[in-house]
C-alpha cells in the first residue's frame, strides 16, 4: 500500500499532559508528525488536535485504534483529502527595502488573496491561508525577494458536508464505531 499524507482529527480532554500523550503515541509507533495544530473547540473542556502523518491505510487504521485507547481521547476521525477541507495560516516576513519591491510583493499577495499584516522600512509581513500547495506557490514567488522568517500554524481540517466528528452524526465505518475498549 502507498503511504500518503493523512489527516487525523482527534477530540481530547483539554487538560495538562494530553498533548504529550497523543504526540508520544506517534513517535512511539515510529511515525513522524508532519503537521500539528491544537486548540479548544466550542466546548471549552474539549480540545481538537489535527495531526498529519505519512502512512498507508492500514497503518492509519492501527494508529487511530491506538489513539482510541487513550482515556483522554474522545473521538478520532480520519479525514480523507477528497472529503475534507484543509487550511493552514502561514506568516511570511519578506525583505522589501524599496518602493518597487514592496509594490511587487503586494501584487503577489493580492493574487493569492493574502493580506499584508505588517510593514516596515525594510520588510513586509504577509499572512496567507490555504492548503500546502498555495503556501508553497507563494513561498516560491517570494523567495527571490529574500524570506526573513516563515511560520505556519499547522493544518486544520473539517469534513465536507453535514457529517461531523461527533459520534451521533458521523458516518459509520467499521473501525469508526465508538471508543475502543478501555
Amino acid at each position: 500500500m502507498n503511504a500518503t499524507r493523512n489527516t487525523l482529527a482527534v477530540l481530547v480532554d483539554n487538560e495538562a499532559g494530553v498533548l504529550s500523550r497523543v504526540a508520544r503515541l506517534f513517535s512511539g509507533k515510529g511515525y513522524n508528525i508532519e503537521s500539528l495544530a491544537v486548540g479548544t473547540t466550542d466546548e471549552p473542556e474539549i480540545s481538537r488536535i489535527t495531526i498529519e502523518v505519512v502512512a498507508d491505510d492500514k497503518q492509519i487504521n492501527l494508529l487511530s485504534n491506538q489513539l482510541r485507547k487513550l482515556i483522554c481521547v474522545h473521538s478520532v476521525k480520519v479525514l480523507k483529502a477528497e472529503h475534507a477541507i484543509r487550511r493552514e495560516l502561514v506568516l511570511i516576513k519578506v525583505m522589501a527595502d524599496n518602493f518597487g519591491k514592496r509594490n511587487e510583493i503586494i501584487q503577489i499577495a493580492n493574487i493569492f488573496r493574502a493580506s499584508i499584516i505588517d510593514v516596515s522600512k525594510s520588510s513586509l509581513t504577509i499572512a496567507v491561508i490555504g492548503d500546502e500547495s498555495k503556501a508553497e506557490a507563494i513561498q516560491n514567488l517570494l523567495k527571490e525577494f529574500g524570506i526573513l522568517e516563515l511560520v505556519r500554524t499547522g493544518m486544520v481540517a473539517l469534513e465536507r458536508g453535514q457529517y461531523t466528528i461527533d459520534e451521533q452524526t458521523k458516518e459509520k465505518g467499521e473501525f469508526d464505531y465508538g471508543k475502543n475498549v478501555l
Binding site: 499532559g17 504529550s20 500523550r21 508520544r24 512511539g28 492500514k58 487504521n61 492501527l62 485504534n65 491506538q66 482510541r68 485507547k69 487513550l70 482515556i71 474522545h74 473501525f175 465508538g178 471508543k179 475502543n180 475498549v181 478501555l182
Partner: protein, 566 residues
C-alpha cells in the same frame, strides 16, 4: 466525613476490596504509611526488599487471583524502581494499580530531592496515569484508576499523589463500588464510553460459524486473552465441539488443559513440531486473545499461509496489527465463545488430527547418566508437586523448558513474563501468588542469571514465612543468550559465562532459608521431597550442563517450520 488524603486513599482501597498491598515506604509517602499503621487490621502490607519486587508481587498477585494488584512506593528512585514492573504488567495485560507519592506541590518542577515526573516516565507503559494535585479529586481518581485497570483489556494504572494532598483534609463520602460509575469523573467517563467490552456482532459470529463448518483442517490458538478472561472452560468446550487441535502461546498457558488430547503444545520460536507444522498446514486458524507477537508469528508474511486467519480479541487495535486476518471479532473471549459454540454443530476431523498428531507435541530431551538434566528436574517436580501448584518463572531457557514440560490446567497457574521478558520477575511474582493463595504450593523456577537479579526478595519470603520453593537451573551461564551465541554467533560466548558468586545454598542460608544442592536426580528428588514436606521457603541449586539447549528452535524472522534445531 472529613478525612485527610492518606485516609481517603486507604478508604478508597477498602471500597475496592483491597486487603493486600505490596510496597516500600519513603519520604513523600510517609503520610500514607502513617495512616496505614491504623489500618493494619484491614489492609495487609507486604514490605518487599525493593520496589521492583513489590511491583512484580502485585503483578503476580493479580495474575494468580484475577483481582487488581496494588503496590506503593515513594517518589523519585522508589517510583522509577517500579518502571520495569509496570512495563512487565503492561505487556502481559495484568491489572495493577501503582500508587506513588510525589514531592509537595510547591516543590514540583524544582528538581527537588527525590522528585521525578513519574507520570511522564510511565506514559507509554500504563493504560492511564494520574498526577493528583488537588485533594478534591483524590477519591474520584482512585475509583477511576481501579475501573480502568480491570476493565476491557486489563493493564497497569499509576496514581502519583503530591505529598501535601495526603496531609490535607476534605469531605469524603464513602461510595459502594457498584455506584462508582454513577458520579464524579468516572460517571462522566462511563457515560461517554461503555466500560463493558463491545458486544460481539452476531453477523460476525455467524460468518465465523460458517467458516468453521466449511473448514477441513481447523486449528486454534489459545492466547493470553483466554487466561485473562478466565474463559478456559468455554474455550475447551468450543475446541472439542469443532474438534480442532489447539496450540498454546506462552501467555495462553492455563487457558487450555495441557494434557488435553487436542493440545499440540506450545507454538512459536520454541513451539512443538506439531503446533508449528499444524499452523502452517491448516486451512482455518482461529486465534483467541492472541496478538501474534514476533515470538509466535515469527515471519508474519508466511504465517499460516494456507489458512484463513480469524482473530478474536477484546482490543480492536490488535486486529490486523501483526498478521493480516480474513475475519475478526472484537469482543471478550468469554462472551464470543458463549455465543459462538452453540452456533456450530459437533464436528469431527479424524484425518486432520492424525496428520497433526503424527508429529511430537513435546520435545524429547536426552538423558545424560550421572548428571542432572533440566528434564529430570521438571519431571520430578511434576511427579511430586501438587497438581494445582502455581509455577512462576524468570526468563530464558528454564522458562521455555518449564512451559514446554508442565501441563497447566487453569488460568493463573503459570506466572511468566511473556511479552516483556523480564529477568528477575519470578521471585516477586511467586511472593504475590503465595500471598494471594496461602493454600497452594508456589514453585519458582529460575536460572542463575535471573535469580541473581532480584534474589534480595528472599528476605521477604523468609520474613512472611512464605513456603516458596525456588529451583535454580544453575548452568553457570546466561543459557538462552549462550544458545544464540552457539547457534548464530560462532560460539563467541561474549559476556555470558556466570562463573562467579554467590553460592546459592549459602545465600539461602544467609536469608534464613534452607538451601539444597542437587547434582543428580536422586539428590534433587530428596531435596524437593524435603522442601515439600517442610512447608517453608527454600532454594534448590541444580547443577545443569552449560550447553543444554531449548529445542526445537526457529530463528527470529524465519518461517515457522524452518527449525534451526529439532
Amino acid at each position: 466525613m472529613r478525612l485527610n488524603g492518606a485516609k481517603i486513599l486507604l478508604e478508597c482501597l477498602l471500597e475496592q476490596d483491597v486487603d493486600t498491598v505490596f510496597g516500600y515506604p519513603g519520604g513523600t509517602i510517609l503520610n500514607v504509611y502513617d495512616e496505614l499503621y491504623n489500618y493494619g487490621d484491614r489492609i495487609h502490607h507486604i514490605l518487599t526488599a525493593h520496589e521492583q519486587g513489590a511491583c512484580h508481587a502485585a503483578d503476580g498477585y493479580a495474575r494468580s487471583t484475577g483481582k487488581v494488584g496494588v503496590c506503593f512506593s515513594t517518589s523519585g528512585p522508589g517510583a522509577t524502581n517500579m518502571v520495569t514492573g509496570i512495563a512487565t504488567a503492561y505487556l502481559d495485560s495484568s491489572p495493577i494499580v501503582c500508587i506513588t507519592c510525589n514531592v509537595s506541590l510547591p516543590l514540583i518542577g524544582k528538581d527537588s530531592f527525590q522528585e521525578v515526573d513519574i507520570t511522564g516516565v510511565t506514559m507509554p507503559i500504563t493504560k492511564c496515569n494520574y498526577l493528583v494535585r488537588d485533594i478534591r479529586h483524590l477519591a474520584d481518581t482512585v475509583r477511576e484508576a481501579f475501573a480502568i485497570a480491570r476493565s476491557g483489556r486489563p493493564g497497569p494504572v499509576l496514581i502519583d499523589i503530591v505529598k501535601n494532598v495526603t496531609a490535607e483534609e476534605t469531605e469524603f463520602e464513602p461510595l459502594p463500588r457498584q455506584e462508582h460509575g454513577t458520579s464524579g469523573r468516572l460517571g462522566e467517563l462511563m457515560r461517554r464510553y461503555d466500560f463493558k467490552p463491545p458486544e460481539p456482532d452476531m453477523d460476525d459470529i455467524r460468518k465465523l460459524a460458517d467458516m468453521i463448518r466449511a473448514a477441513q483442517r481447523p486449528m486454534l490458538i489459545c492466547g493470553g486473552g483466554v487466561v485473562r478472561a478466565r474463559a478456559d472452560r468455554l474455550f475447551r468446550d468450543f475446541a472439542h465441539k469443532i474438534d480442532a487441535p489447539v496450540a498454546i502461546t506462552v501467555m495462553g498457558a492455563g487457558g487450555f488443559p495441557g494434557q488435553d488430547e487436542l493440545t499440540t503444545g506450545m507454538i512459536g520460536m520454541h513451539g512443538s513440531q506439531a503446533s508449528n507444522m499444524a499452523v502452517d498446514e491448516c486451512d482455518l486458524l482461529i486465534a483467541v486473545g492472541c496478538r501474534f507477537s514476533d515470538r509466535v508469528a515469527l515471519k508474519p508474511a508466511t504465517f499460516a499461509q494456507r489458512a484463513q486467519v480469524v482473530q478474536i480479541d477484546i482490543d480492536r487495535a490488535e486486529i490486523n496489527k501483526n498478521v493480516e486476518t480474513a475475519h475478526h471479532i472484537v469482543g471478550d473471549a468469554r462472551r464470543v465463545l458463549e455465543l459462538l459454540t452453540p452456533m456450530v454443530p459437533q464436528l469431527t476431523h479424524p484425518e486432520w488430527k492424525k496428520q497433526v498428531f503424527s508429529r511430537p507435541t513435546e520435545t524429547e530431551y536426552d538423558e545424560h547418566p550421572g548428571s542432572l538434566t533440566p528434564w529430570q528436574v521438571l519431571s520430578t517436580i511434576t511427579r511430586l508437586a501438587p497438581d494445582d501448584a502455581i509455577i512462576s518463572t524468570d526468563v530464558g531457557q528454564h522458562q521455555m523448558w518449564a512451559i514446554q514440560h508442565f501441563h497447566f490446567d487453569y488460568p493463573g497457574q503459570l506466572l511468566t513474563s511473556g511479552g516483556f521478558g523480564t529477568m528477575g520477575f519470578g521471585l516477586g511474582a511467586a511472593i504475590g501468588a503465595q500471598v494471594g493463595h496461602p493454600e497452594k504450593r508456589v514453585i519458582h523456577i529460575t536460572g542463575d542469571g535471573g535469580f541473581r537479579m532480584n534474589c534480595n526478595e528472599l528476605a521477604t519470603e523468609q520474613y512472611y514465612r512464605l513456603p516458596i520453593i525456588t529451583v535454580v537451573f544453575n548452568n553457570g551461564t546466561l543459557g538462552m543468550v549462550r544458545q544464540w551465541q552457539n547457534l548464530i554467533y560462532h560460539q563467541h560466548y561474549s559476556q555470558t559465562t556466570l562463573d562467579r558468586a554467590p553460592d546459592f545454598v549459602l545465600l539461602a542460608q544467609a536469608y534464613g532459608l534452607k538451601g539444597y544442592r542437587a547434582t543428580d536426580v536422586h539428590e534433587f528428588e530428596s531435596a524437593f521431597r524435603d522442601a515439600l514436606a517442610s512447608g517453608s521457603g527454600c532454594v534448590i541449586d541444580c547443577a545443569i550442563d552449560i550447553d543444554e539447549m531449548v529445542r526445537p528452535m526457529v530463528g527470529g524472522g524465519e518461517h515457522i517450520t524452518h527449525f534451526m534445531i529439532d
